[in-house]
């Protein structure tokens, strides 16, 4: 192919392109959606390299609240346990109180269940425990023990007051 022919063919081609406005007018470009996809992929690719929240940091974030919650739980348990222990100590003095007030003990087996909380003062609290234990009940339940002892102590106090008042009359 000679230089003259080259020039002819190239110029003819160029004129055709210009006439069609092929490269100057045609708005051929990627859709916006494609732009978003590519840029998102580029961002996601480098995200692990950024200083992000690592698993260790994530654990540290929860460490303080978890510690506080655990501490509160332990403290509450201790307080409740100590409180119950103190009450047990108080109730342990109940026989002494019975002796000083002159209350008599009847046979535990004869006493009805309700009699433990009656002001008659008949019977020792272990009566009800033993009977409950025999029935498969919560004989060794600390809270139950505390409640029963507390009720019994109240009843004994009321009975003592009644005797004192009748004696004074």
């Amino acid at each position: 192919m000679s230089g003259r022919e080259d020039k002819d063919e190239l110029e003819g081609y160029r004129r055709a392109l210009l006439r069609a406005h092929l490269y100057t007018r045609e708005p051929l470009e990627p859709p916006a959606e494609l732009d978003r996809i590519v840029l998102r992929a580029a961002r996601l690719a480098i995200e692990p390299q950024r200083p992000a929240i690592t698993p260790a940091a994530h654990r540290r974030r929860w460490a303080v609240p978890a510690s506080v919650a655990a501490s509160v739980l332990v403290a509450l348990t201790l307080v409740i346990d100590l409180g119950a222990h103190s009450l047990r100590s108080i109730f342990a003095a109940a026989p002494t109180l019975q002796a000083t007030t002159g209350m008599s003990s009847s046979s535990p087996a004869d006493a009805p269940l309700g009699s433990d909380v009656q002001p008659s003062g008949s019977g020792y609290p272990s009566t009800i425990y033993s009977r409950l234990a025999a029935n498969g009940g919560p004989a060794k339940e600390p809270i139950f023990e505390v409640v029963i002892r507390s009720a019994r102590l109240t009843a004994q106090g009321a009975s003592t007051d009644a005797r004192h008042s009748s004696a004074s009359r």
Partner: protein, 203 residues
């Protein structure tokens, strides 16, 4: 456009700078899309290829070396992606992957500015003839032609991208232009040549 700066942007992106990537993307999104669109000539295939090229570029950010020109690097990925696309199409039993969706492209051609209907029709027909002529080119010649026209790569860079010698790339370009000319201008007119192809191919 500075190739050194492109390389620096790519290195910055590899270090985690998203802004650097956005700059690169803005620079190359359009020429790359045009190159792939002309090749695939099917909007869906062009979109898939476009996304694939950028995904490969993103994935290879750590392997990029600044001594290679960025745009050569990018278009080499695009060139190889298109070859893979054609192979996949051949496996699927599509006879000519580049001819799929011809009607779609024809329908997407915008009307030129001429108000006269006859001129508009003529321009439209010229575009269609040109596209048909480009589609009819052998794949290697079409590749060199599109890289030259759509991406602005030099013949030397095209040779690197396509993995052939400089003279081979030059020869392919000349053959491609000759065939396009025959398809578009059956009656050549003797006028002086001006333009990039004439200068670079030695005409």
């Amino acid at each position: 456009m500075d190739a050194e700066e492109d390389g620096e942007l790519m290195l910055r992106y590899a270090r985690g700078d998203l802004r650097a990537f956005e700059k690169l993307y803005r620079r190359y999104r359009r020429p790359l899309y045009r190159y792939l669109s002309r090749h695939a000539r099917n909007p869906e295939a062009a979109n898939d290829l476009f996304q694939e090229v950028w995904s490969k570029l993103i994935a290879s950010r750590d392997r990029y070396e600044p001594r290679a020109k960025f745009r050569t690097f990018l278009y080499r990925i695009a060139h190889n992606s298109f070859i893979d696309h054609c192979r996949r199409s051949a496996v699927r039993g599509e006879s000519r992957c580049e001819l799929e969706g011809e009607e779609d492209w024809a329908g997407s051609v915008p009307a030129p500015d001429e108000d006269r209907p006859d001129m508009r029709l003529q321009a439209q027909q010229t575009i269609m003839r040109f596209r048909a002529a480009v589609a009819a080119l052998p794949a290697e010649q079409r590749d060199v032609f599109l890289l030259y026209e759509e991406t602005g790569l030099s013949l030397e860079e095209i040779a690197v991208v396509t993995g052939v010698g400089m003279e081979t790339a030059k020869s392919r370009l000349r053959y491609a232009v000759a065939k396009l000319r025959r398809a578009l201008c059956p009656a050549p007119q003797p006028e002086p040549a001006t333009g990039r192809i004439a200068e670079e191919t030695g005409a």
